[in-house]
């Protein structure tokens, strides 16, 4: 049961981020990537304001936890910015995006090395297959010849 709870939330994240793949494309087809990113950030601020009003955030936190959460936002945003830089620096989209799809591999390595997480053989195989799947999914199909 406990497994299903975390997996449920992970699938919700997967679906919502998957939808953003389409909405982001619809946005950048119409406006610049900078303006799109700016309004993405405004939405984050609006969501945080809603969280402040609706939810009751727990304020009594240790400094390491606060630093890690703030770092999470900074790393996520900087990663988005550097991925744009990679695409603007002459990298082919199919190669850059496939390469970037390897980022969970670093998370797995860091979590095992620093947090001493243990994976079963099935989970380790699943992590490898997931990364391979993400790479294949990010490949653009070749244009159809007329």
């Amino acid at each position: 049961m406990g497994t299903m709870v975390w997996l449920g939330f992970a699938v919700v994240a997967l679906v919502l981020w998957g939808v953003t793949g389409v909405t982001q494309k619809l946005s950048t087809n119409l406006i610049s990537s900078e303006r799109s990113f700016l309004w993405f950030c405004y939405a984050m601020v609006a969501l945080s304001a809603a969280v402040m009003v609706v939810a009751r955030p727990h304020w009594g936190l240790g400094i390491p936890a606060v630093v890690c959460s703030i770092a999470g936002g900074a790393l996520n945003g900087l990663g988005a910015w550097t991925s744009f830089r990679a695409l603007e620096s002459g990298g082919k989209a199919s190669i850059v995006i496939s390469l970037i799809s390897l980022f969970p591999l670093l998370t797995v390595i860091l979590a095992v090395a620093l947090l001493h997480e243990r994976l079963t053989w099935m989970q380790a195989a699943g992590a490898v297959v997931a990364i391979l799947a993400a790479i294949l999914l990010s490949l653009e199909p070749a244009p159809v010849q007329a």
């Binding site: 709870v5 975390w6 997996l7 939330f9 994240a13 919502l16 981020w17 998957g18 939808v19 953003t20 793949g21 389409v22 494309k25 946005s27 950048t28 119409l30 406006i31 610049s32 900078e34 303006r35 799109s36 309004w39 993405f40 939405a43 984050m44 609006a46 969501l47 945080s48 969280v51 936190l61 390491p64 936890a65 959460s69 703030i70 770092a71 999470g72 936002g73 790393l75 996520n76 900087l78 990663g79 990679a86 620096s89 390469l99 970037i100 980022f103 670093l106 998370t107 797995v108 947090l115 989970q123 699943g126 297959v129 997931a130 990364i131 391979l132 799947a133 999914l137 490949l139 199909p141």
Partner: protein
């Protein structure tokens, strides 16, 4: 002595791609550490604090491009583009909260991150259904492998 200009050993696109891997790969680690103490709501607030400097930077870039008249945007399309960007932020933010909650509920960073990194499977399915895009053979294989991965990671 004059030296000949040599191309950089590491192409810029490769450098920025590797930096991206480090940024997003480390994001999973710090999220797991924070999830021991922080709830998903508080994390959303602090996450926004972390992204704030980039908001200022993006605002400056947009303002500068606007003054130069070099936005490259289609006239009359800005409000629709802004709507989709704002929706992307809301969905992405709620997705972040769900990702964080998965870790709060005991999901390992080494398992939750590979599962959520499969989000392109949803994007390609939606693009197939609504944008009438075609999938290549490798994308179909990737889609099949994504389901295999979710099964294995949940084993």
């Amino acid at each position: 002595m004059k030296q000949e200009a040599r191309p950089p050993r590491v192409p810029l696109w490769l450098f920025w791609s590797l930096v991206t891997i480090v940024m997003w790969g480390t994001w999973g680690l710090v999220s797991k550490i924070a999830s021991d103490e922080v709830d998903a709501y508080m994390n959303q607030l602090l996450f926004t604090v972390g992204i704030a400097p980039l908001l200022v930077f993006a605002g400056w870039k947009v303002s500068r491009a606007g003054k130069k008249g070099a936005t490259g945007e289609k006239p009359g399309m800005r409000s629709r583009g802004v709507f989709w960007a704002f929706l992307t932020g809301i969905l992405g933010g709620v997705g972040n909260m769900a990702y964080f909650e998965a870790m709060v509920k005991g999901g390992k960073a080494s398992v939750v991150t590979p599962v959520t990194a499969l989000f392109p499977m949803v994007t390609v399915l939606l693009a197939l259904l609504f944008l009438k895009e075609r999938l290549g053979r490798l994308q179909w294989i990737g889609l099949g492998l994504a389901f295999v991965a979710i099964y294995l990671l949940n084993a």
